[in-house]
C-alpha cells in the first residue's frame, strides 16, 4: 500500500503546548493592586475601636429604634414607594429601548467581524458595519460611564424636579449597561445556526430574528430583570438629588435626624427589592 506523506493535524495547527506564564503574572498583578489599594484607600479596621466610633454607631441604632410605624406616616409613604417602583419600571423600559438597537449594532459578529461578513463588500463591511459598530460602542460607554446619580442631577436641571428626571437618568445609564451586556450575550451565542441562515440568503435582521433572538432570549430577559432590581435601588438614591420616590423621603428624614423614619423607609425598600427579586426569579425559571 503506497503511503503518501501527509501533514498530520498537529503540524497544520501549531499547538501551544508550552505552559503559559500568564496566570502567574495575572495573580501577581492582582495581588499587588490589592496591597497598593489597601494603603491608598486607608483601609484600617483599628479605626472602629478609636475614640467614640462605637458609641456613635450605638447612638444611631438606638435612634432608629423603634421604626416609625404610625398609620399616618405609613400612609404618607405609600405614594413615594409606588413612585419608586414606577420610576424603575419606566427607567428600565427606556433602557431596553436604548439597549436593544445599540446592543445589536455593538455586536461585532453581526456588524463586521467573522464568518457572516467574509464575502461582504468593503463598503458593506465599513459603512454599514464597522462605523455604526464603533459609534454604538462609544455611545454605550459614555452612557454607562457617567453614574446615574450624575445623569439625574443633569436631568433635574434640564426638566425640573420630580420622577421624570429619575426615569431619564436610569434609562440612559442603564441603557448603556444593557446595550453592552446584550452585545456580549449575542456574541457568545452559537454561531453555526447564524451561518446556516446567512448561507440560505437570510438578511441580517432575519439572522437576528431566527438565529440570535431565540438563543439569547433567556439570558437577555434574565439580565434585564436583574437590572430592574438594581433600578429599584437606584431610583431610591436618585431621590437624593430631587428625582422623586422613596429616596427623597429618606433624604428628608435623614436631614431631620428622624432615624426611626429612615429605618421604616429602608425596610420598605428592602421589601420592594425582595418582591422584584422573587418575581424575576419566577419569570427566569419559566423561561429556562
Amino acid at each position: 500500500m503506497a503511503r503518501i506523506p501527509s501533514a498530520a493535524p498537529a503540524d497544520r495547527f501549531p499547538a501551544s503546548g508550552r505552559r503559559s506564564r500568564f496566570p502567574y503574572l495575572l495573580t501577581a498583578i492582582l495581588a499587588a493592586s490589592v496591597v497598593y489599594s489597601l494603603r491608598a484607600a486607608q483601609v484600617d479596621p483599628r479605626r472602629f475601636f478609636e475614640g467614640d466610633v462605637l458609641a456613635n454607631v450605638a447612638r444611631f441604632v438606638r435612634g432608629a429604634l423603634p421604626p416609625e410605624l404610625s398609620r399616618e406616616f405609613l400612609g404618607l409613604m405609600l405614594r413615594p414607594a409606588l413612585e419608586t417602583v414606577q420610576i424603575s419600571v419606566m427607567g428600565t423600559a427606556i433602557a431596553v429601548l436604548i439597549g436593544i438597537p445599540l446592543g445589536l449594532l455593538a455586536t461585532s459578529s453581526l456588524t463586521w467581524r467573522g464568518v457572516l461578513h467574509e464575502r461582504a463588500s468593503r463598503a458593506g463591511r465599513w459603512g454599514l458595519g464597522f462605523v455604526p459598530y464603533a459609534l454604538a460602542r462609544a455611545a454605550l460607554s459614555v452612557f454607562r460611564s457617567i453614574p446615574e446619580y450624575v445623569w439625574a442631577f443633569m436631568f433635574v436641571r434640564a426638566v425640573g424636579l420630580g420622577p421624570f428626571p429619575g426615569v431619564l437618568a436610569i434609562g440612559v445609564a442603564y441603557g448603556g449597561m444593557l446595550g453592552k451586556v446584550y452585545s456580549e450575550i449575542l456574541e457568545s451565542m452559537n454561531p453555526r445556526p447564524l451561518e446556516t441562515l446567512h448561507a440560505a440568503g437570510a438578511s441580517r435582521l432575519g439572522v437576528v430574528l431566527y438565529g440570535l433572538v431565540p438563543q439569547a432570549l433567556p439570558n437577555v430577559v434574565a439580565y434585564t430583570l436583574y437590572r430592574w432590581e438594581c433600578a429599584i435601588r437606584a431610583s431610591a438614591i436618585l431621590g437624593f438629588v430631587g428625582a422623586g420616590g422613596l429616596g427623597q423621603q429618606i433624604e428628608l428624614s435623614m436631614r431631620m435626624f428622624q432615624f426611626n423614619e429612615v429605618l421604616t423607609l429602608l425596610a420598605v425598600l428592602f421589601v420592594l427589592v425582595a418582591a422584584v427579586d422573587f418575581a424575576s426569579a419566577r419569570i427566569r425559571a419559566r423561561l429556562a
Partner: protein, 274 residues
C-alpha cells in the same frame, strides 16, 4: 452550475485548507466528495455556498464570477443554494415549524419574518415538507426535544422549503446510525432527482458515495486526487486517499473484507470479495 479554477483557501492562522481546486459541476449533476477528515471538504462546501471567500482562484456560480457580486446579488445567489450541515445547526429553542419556515428567509421581508414567529405564516408548507421527510407529527415540537436523526430531517425539510437549485450536504449522515444514513442519503438523492436539483454531498462513508453517486471526487490535503465514475475508483486509489488516517484505514479494511456496515443497501466495492 459551478466552475472552480485554482481555488485556494488559507485561513487566518496560516493553515492551508484548499490548495488549488479545479472542478466543474453541471446542472442537475450528483457528485459525492470523499477523503480523510481535515482534507478540506467542509471548507470547499463553505466556499461553494458563498460563505467563505477563496484566498485565490476563481469561483463561477451559474455563469457569474462570485467575486464580482454585490452584497445584494450575493444574497440572491445564496437563496438558490441550500446547505445541510454535519451538525444540524438548528435553533433548539425554536419550534420545529419555525426552523423549517426559516427556509423562507431569503424571500420574506423582515416584517413577514417577525410576524411568522408569532403566528406561522405558512404552517401548511412546513407540514408538507415535514411529511416528505417522514416526521409530520413534529410540526409544533420544540426542536431540542428531537433526536439527532429527527433534527437532521428538520434541516432537510428547511432546505425543501427554501427550494434551491443546488443542494450541498456536508456529511449529512455522520452523526446518525447506519440504517438511517442510508435512508437520509437516498432521501436527499430522490428529492433532488425529482426536482432536478444539483446535489453535492460530502461523505464520510466510501460505501454510500460509491453506491449512490454517479461521480465521486476524492479530496486530500486540499487537492482533488481523483474525479471518477464509481466503478473506476479502485482499491489503490482509496488506499492512497486515506493513507495515514488510521480510523479510515481500518474502516476501509473492514469494508474490503466484505463487512459492509450498511448491509445489503450497498453493493460491495468492485474487486473486493463478497
Amino acid at each position: 452550475m459551478y466552475e472552480l479554477s485554482g481555488v485556494r483557501k488559507v485561513f487566518a492562522d496560516g493553515s492551508v485548507a484548499l490548495d488549488g481546486i479545479s472542478l466543474t459541476v453541471g446542472r442537475g449533476e450528483h457528485v459525492a466528495f470523499i477523503g480523510p477528515s481535515g482534507a478540506g471538504k467542509t471548507t470547499l462546501f463553505r466556499i461553494l455556498n458563498l460563505t467563505l471567500r477563496p484566498t485565490a482562484g476563481r469561483l463561477v456560480f451559474e455563469g457569474q464570477d462570485a467575486s464580482g457580486l454585490s452584497d445584494a446579488a450575493l444574497r440572491r445567489a445564496r437563496t438558490r443554494i441550500g446547505t445541510i450541515y454535519q451538525q444540524q445547526n438548528l435553533v433548539g429553542r425554536l419550534r420545529v415549524v419555525h426552523n423549517v419556515l426559516a427556509g423562507n428567509l431569503g424571500r420574506w421581508s423582515t416584517l413577514e419574518a417577525a410576524a411568522s414567529l408569532v403566528r406561522p405564516r405558512s404552517a401548511g408548507q412546513a407540514a408538507t415538507a415535514l411529511e416528505r421527510v417522514g416526521i409530520p407529527e413534529k410540526l409544533y415540537a420544540r426542536t431540542d426535544e428531537l433526536s439527532g436523526g429527527q433534527q437532521q430531517r428538520v434541516a432537510i425539510a428547511r432546505v425543501l422549503v427554501q427550494d434551491p437549485d443546488v443542494l450541498l450536504a456536508d456529511e449529512p449522515v455522520s452523526s446518525v446510525d447506519p440504517s438511517l444514513a442510508v435512508t437520509i442519503v437516498s432521501l436527499l438523492r430522490d428529492l433532488s432527482h425529482e426536482s432536478q436539483k444539483t446535489l453535492l454531498m460530502n461523505l464520510h462513508s466510501v460505501e454510500l458515495a460509491l453506491h449512490y453517486f454517479p461521480r465521486v471526487v476524492g479530496i486530500r490535503d486540499g487537492r482533488v486526487r481523483f474525479d471518477l465514475a464509481p466503478e473506476k475508483v479502485s482499491g489503490e486509489l482509496l488506499a492512497e486517499l486515506y493513507a495515514g488516517d488510521r480510523d479510515e484505514e481500518q474502516a476501509l479494511e473492514r469494508f474490503q473484507d466484505g463487512k459492509n456496515p450498511f448491509g445489503g443497501a450497498c453493493r460491495p466495492l468492485p474487486g473486493f470479495g463478497a
